[in-house]
């Protein structure tokens, strides 16, 4: 009896296939809810920056001018903006069914992320060479409270931004693999679009970090 029912159920399932539920808008709302928590995380740090720069105005201006290279900051800004453009174009390409073009554009985005990391590596090591890091002799004996606060914020905020960039980079590489395997298609493209949203958020945060740390001198 039960065996009979099982067979019936199985054949029923086989003869009545139903479309898998795929809800792009719901997927996107979920991503935005996460992005909102991200915005508030960085937002809190920006409020902290605002308060500290109010207290240590002169030290902040001097520290920004003495240690941070505007050229490197501006270069990295252009790199991230370019990566945002190629990210958006890559999503457009996948929507149009142009898989290869999408992969090339995504590859450029990934290359931009690596360039950004390269520049950041030079910037941070230059600071370490000058003894500008928490706990160094120079830091403890020669830097005043304002300068220390500025660089503590600099390392935490660009550091947290860097962590996001690294996670974003891993996600983009994963997307590239999935496009290659044909798992991201015009119908099921939301993974690429959500990773794109995350990538643009990283760009968004940098748009504020750049002037606040590099340009205020």
């Amino acid at each position: 009896m039960s065996e009979e029912m099982d067979t019936q159920n199985n054949s029923g399932a086989a003869t009545l296939p139903h479309a898998e539920h795929y809800d792009p808008e719901g997927i996107k709302i979920g991503m935005w809810l996460f992005l909102i928590t991200e915005l508030m995380t960085f937002g809190g740090l920006f409020i902290l920056y605002a308060m500290q720069s109010y207290t240590y105005r002169a030290d902040f201006l001097a520290a920004s001018g003495s240690e941070l290279s505007r050229a490197m900051g501006a270069f990295n800004t252009v790199v991230l903006l370019t990566s945002s453009l190629t990210m958006a174009l890559s999503i457009n390409a996948i929507l149009q069914g142009a898989r290869k073009r999408s992969m090339v554009l995504l590859g450029i985005t990934i290359a931009c992320a690596l360039i950004f990391f390269g520049v950041k590596y030079f910037e941070w090591t230059a600071k370490f060479h000058h003894g500008v890091y928490p706990g160094s002799e120079h830091w403890v004996n020669e830097l005043n409270n304002g300068t220390r606060t500025f660089f503590t914020l600099y390392f935490s905020m660009t550091g947290l931004h860097g962590v996001h960039l690294f996670i974003g980079l891993c996600l983009l590489i994963w997307c590239l693999v999935r496009i290659q395997k044909g798992q991201i298609t015009p119908e099921r493209h939301m993974m690429l679009e959500n990773c794109g949203l995350f990538w643009h958020l990283i760009d968004l945060v940098w748009i504020f970090l750049f002037p606040l740390f590099y340009l205020i001198a």
Partner: protein, 95 residues
Amino acid sequence: MDSPAHTPPLADRIYVAVYGALLVLTAITVGVAYLPLGPWATAVALVVAGCKSSLVLWYFMGIRTDPPIFRWMLLFTLGTFVVFLVITYTDYLFR
């Protein structure tokens, strides 16, 4: 071409135009930093950053073509952030 094509919400040339605008704004914000504006320098830099981030949100992040709920979610977030900012500033200035 492994699947039928969909029309993207925004054409490629719109993204390229927005990218151009973002580059121009970056050039402006770097250029302005060399002018002797004193305390206004930060204000100008933040206004330019605000314009750039609006462009990124509106076009690159697709708020322009998304259903209205995304706009409301974003506005609610920015409103909450402003409340935090104002409360912290008032506490700080009048303590």
